[in-house]
Amino acid sequence: MAKTIVVIGGGVAGMTAASRLADLGEKVILLEREDQTGGHLRQWDRLFPNRRPGYEVLDFLMENLEHKVDVRCNQGISSVSQQPSGFSLELEAGESLPCDALLLATGFDLFDAHKKEEYGYGIYDNVITSADLEMMFRSGQKITTRQGDAPSRVGFVHCVGSRDEKVGNLYCSKVCCVTGVKQAIEIKEQFPGAEVFGFYTDLRMYDRHFEEMYYEAQQKWDINFLRGRVSECAENQDHTIVLKIEDTLTSRPLKMTVDLMVLLVGFVPSPETLRLAAMLGIVVGEDRFLEPVDEHTRSNFTIQPGVFLAGASKGPFSISNAIADAGEAALQIHEYLRTL
């Protein structure tokens, strides 16, 4: 009898794993909470490092699903439990779904910038997040301040909600640095005359072409990178933002005014991920991301046989990493099903 796999989460990792499993001849059901698959990728305009449009990758993933995978959107899960043979999912719609293996590809949430109140998100007009900026880029309109003016000074604040004990997240979110560099360049593309600053702790240009892009940002686009953490900011009468920062390379406290301040928000585990993990008895790490059995050699396995992990429920992932990880997860599941 054909085995059934349920993939929970229709983001990059979930879509990839589902189509791979279907290619391997497995029967896959992909459950997505929202009304369409695509996850965070849908919110993104252009991708680092080459600034290609995000929809190209999205279309590729969507096409791969077509005709092969049973995709069910708007499917919230009310509970999941282990059964003598496999698992049973109770869907919010009332249906109950038995399966033999589960893949948690539930992804992440973006850090809620309101929690870093000292940066004034939601309080000052011209403080936005990297996700907001990406949506502005996607809308195709020119970037403006809330007052409708073209910004002449823009600051990017790195590590918002990451590498920050004060908000309880010690980990690095890995991709916000490169996102910040990409977005800074995109601002300069629109406003070549604008002054653009990046306030960073360390610049983590870890992958291929990243360092080159950072180099380009400085050489070609004249973007200023200042090492130091923004401690707090305030709003001027004219709705510009004064930010306080210590330049740790020169050990001087600085004050600077910008027209637009962009918060590079990091990854946090989604409450949904944690809820499912609790129901399935999956180990959650100190950082509240899910813990695989072995982070090097069995990174898609959990301590529960039949429950697998892929993508950003395990921590910050880039798109390319998520795709690779999900492909591996598909292979592991395929092999696991043959042992049943």
């Binding site: 000292e118 309080i123 004060k166 309880g168 707090e232 900011c233 709003e235």
Partner: protein, 598 residues
């Protein structure tokens, strides 16, 4: 003829030693007071306060009134030991004087009276008054003490019945003294019983009956057994007296002196004086402070509570962790039946422990401020919560207050954070700096949004003007009709910030204010018993995970009645709670601001 037997020696020598120690230390402590306090002490002795002190000694050291307030069983246990023993000594003394055949009445005489006088049935006093009065009384008192002993044993196994979860982890000397104390009274009971039984007279309802029974079993050897027991009784007393100065029971003489000090108006200083030493000695290691400490029950840190901290100071065993791992939340001193200010002592110790600080603060800006009748000082923490500043600005504008935002462009710290680390001298520079600014402005009122600043402004700045937390100031404005408010019906739980509540003794203004804009729901532990949010600036060496545990503990308490909003009056609490709360967290200023019509 003086009654004497060799066995009275351990008791007598022990007693002499103990008295010597008490007199020695009391005089060291009194002479070690700073000059001004010595003067207070000298005038105090001849004032009415002397009698108030005596009364307090009676109520606290003997009756243990505060223990009773905590838990009746716990109070009774302490009282039966202290007051019961005291009455035994007092009545025994009277009894021995009545029966004494000489004028010499050495201290051991009443203690071992039954050994020396077997038959007390025929004396004039009892014939003329109540027959068997003393025999009954002394047995009754002994029973009273023994009931406390039984409870003390029960407490080991069932601390919950006494309102406690954890009990103190004791040292060797404490254990030795405790075992002696526990054995003293049962041994006395049996010694007396054997004697009474053997001589067939002299005992009360308890000792006589028990004694008669013993004699039935042991016959003639009862006399020797009795003698051995009298030796044991004396030895136990002697050992107890000798170990007392080195054990927790040293708290008894210390507390008595502490009560006198306090009644004479003597207080703790910024560095150790005798007063602090007496406070440290006065800790009875009752362990009441253990259960209230969130670091213990919520964050699993069990070795830093006030009881252990004070013990480490007394034993000169203070270490970094015990000093620095403390929220300085004041919960333990609020609960302490002896009223020991463990937080201040910890800061004094931190001061001695902390190294020097390189900065001379010359970078501080020095522009004189403008003149204004009212000053608003947001504080560093409030600069991290701009929504509070926005609210305050909005309200003050609406109310037409003529004010100057003293630290709008930047903050010189109020000094409390560095004070919490024990660096008083450095803090003094910040205090001086801000104080000058405040005075130069000519303001009559200083308003701050931060309870940390509020507390230090009031306690350390010695300002000749009104110092108010914004909850107090806003309430005043509302009462004066300066802020129009819309009716609002959100269910709100209020969190008392440590430095505003226990630290600043302001519990009512925020509640009164909130009641005008929202519906307050019940919070199980609030007011003096409110919990620390976990964001404390006073703790240095714990992980953020442990802090999170404390925050979650506080949140559990605050959200018990399912509020829609969590309101607090401190920017630090707000930030700390926002990290984990599932409901909205707002400062009371924001709540007022939101309730103002557009």
């Amino acid at each position: 003829m003086i009654s004497f037997n060799l066995f009275v020696l351990p008791f007598s020598l022990g007693l002499i030693y103990l008295l010597y120690m008490i007199i020695r230390w009391w005089s060291i402590w009194i002479r070690g007071l700073p000059a001004e306090d010595q003067k207070k002490f000298r005038t105090g002795i001849f004032s009415r306060n002397f009698f108030s002190a005596l009364k307090e000694v009676f109520l606290e050291s003997l009756i243990h009134r505060k223990m009773f307030r905590r838990n009746a069983l716990l109070g009774y246990m302490h009282m039966s030991f202290a007051f019961g023993w005291f009455l035994l000594i007092l009545c025994g003394n009277i009894e021995s004087r009545i029966y004494s055949t000489t004028h010499v009445n050495p201290p051991y005489y009443p203690i071992f009276l039954k050994f020396f006088i077997h038959d007390r049935t025929v004396l004039w006093f009892e014939i003329n008054t109540v027959p068997g009065f003393f025999r009954f009384l002394m047995d009754f008192l002994l029973l009273f003490v023994l009931s406390g002993l039984v409870l003390a044993m029960v407490k080991r196994g069932r601390p919950k019945w006494f309102g406690m979860k954890r009990t103190t982890h004791h040292q060797l000397t404490d254990k030795v003294a405790l075992i002696c104390l526990w054995l003293i009274f049962p041994v006395r009971l049996i010694a007396e019983s054997f004697t009474d039984g053997y001589y067939g007279a002299g005992g009360g309802f308890l000792t006589q009956h028990l004694g008669n029974l013993m004699v039935l079993i042991f016959h003639e050897s009862s006399r020797h057994i009795a003698y051995a027991l009298w030796w044991a009784y004396s030895l136990l007393l002697g050992i107890f007296f000798v170990t007392l100065p080195f054990s927790r029971f040293w708290h008894i003489p210390s507390e008595v002196l502490l009560i006198f000090f306090r009644q004479f108006g003597i207080t703790a200083k910024k560095s150790t004086t005798s007063f602090t030493e007496v406070e440290i000695g006065a800790c009875s290691r009752c362990g009441v402070c253990i259960d209230v400490c969130q670091l213990g029950y919520a964050a699993h840190i069990h070795d830093i509570q006030a009881v252990y901290f004070l013990r480490s100071v007394r034993d000169e065993q203070v270490n970094r962790d015990i000093l620095l791992r403390c929220l300085v939340c004041g919960r333990c001193q609020e609960a302490c039946p002896v009223g020991i200010n463990a937080d201040s002592i910890r800061l004094i110790e931190r001061n001695m422990f902390s190294g020097s600080h390189a900065s001379d603060f010359t970078y501080l800006p020095a522009d004189p401020p403008q003149k204004a009748p009212v000053l608003y000082f947001a504080g560093c923490m409030t600069h991290l919560t701009p929504a509070i500043i926005r609210a305050m600005k909005g309200i003050l504008k609406q109310a037409g207050v003529d004010y100057l935002f003293l630290d709008e462009k930047g903050t010189v710290c109020c000094g409390r954070p560095i004070m919490l680390s024990g660096k008083y001298e450095q803090a003094e520079k910040l205090v001086h700096f801000n104080r000058e600014l405040i005075l130069q402005s000519g303001a009559h009122t200083l308003v701050t949004s931060c309870p940390i600043c509020f507390r230090v402004f009031r306690e350390e700045y010695k300002l000749p003007i009104r110092v108010m937390h914004h909850s107090q100031f806003l309430l005043e404005l509302i009462k004066a009709g300066k802020i129009p408010l819309q009716a609002f019906h959100r269910k709100v739980a209020y969190h008392d910030p440590c430095d505003l509540g226990r630290g600043g003794q302001e519990y009512d203004a925020p509640r009164e204010l909130l009641a005008k804009v929202a519906e307050l729901v019940e919070v199980p532990q609030d007011g003096e018993d409110s919990l620390c949010c976990g964001g404390s600036l006073g703790i240095y060496t714990i992980s953020s995970r442990k802090r999170d545990l404390i925050t979650h503990d506080a949140l559990r308490n605050l959200t018990a009645s399912q509020p829609e909003v969590l309101a607090t009056a401190c920017p630090l609490c707000k930030k700390t709670f926002s990290k984990h709360a599932e409901i909205e967290v707002l400062d009371i200023a924001e709540m007022v601001y939101d309730a103002m019509p557009e």
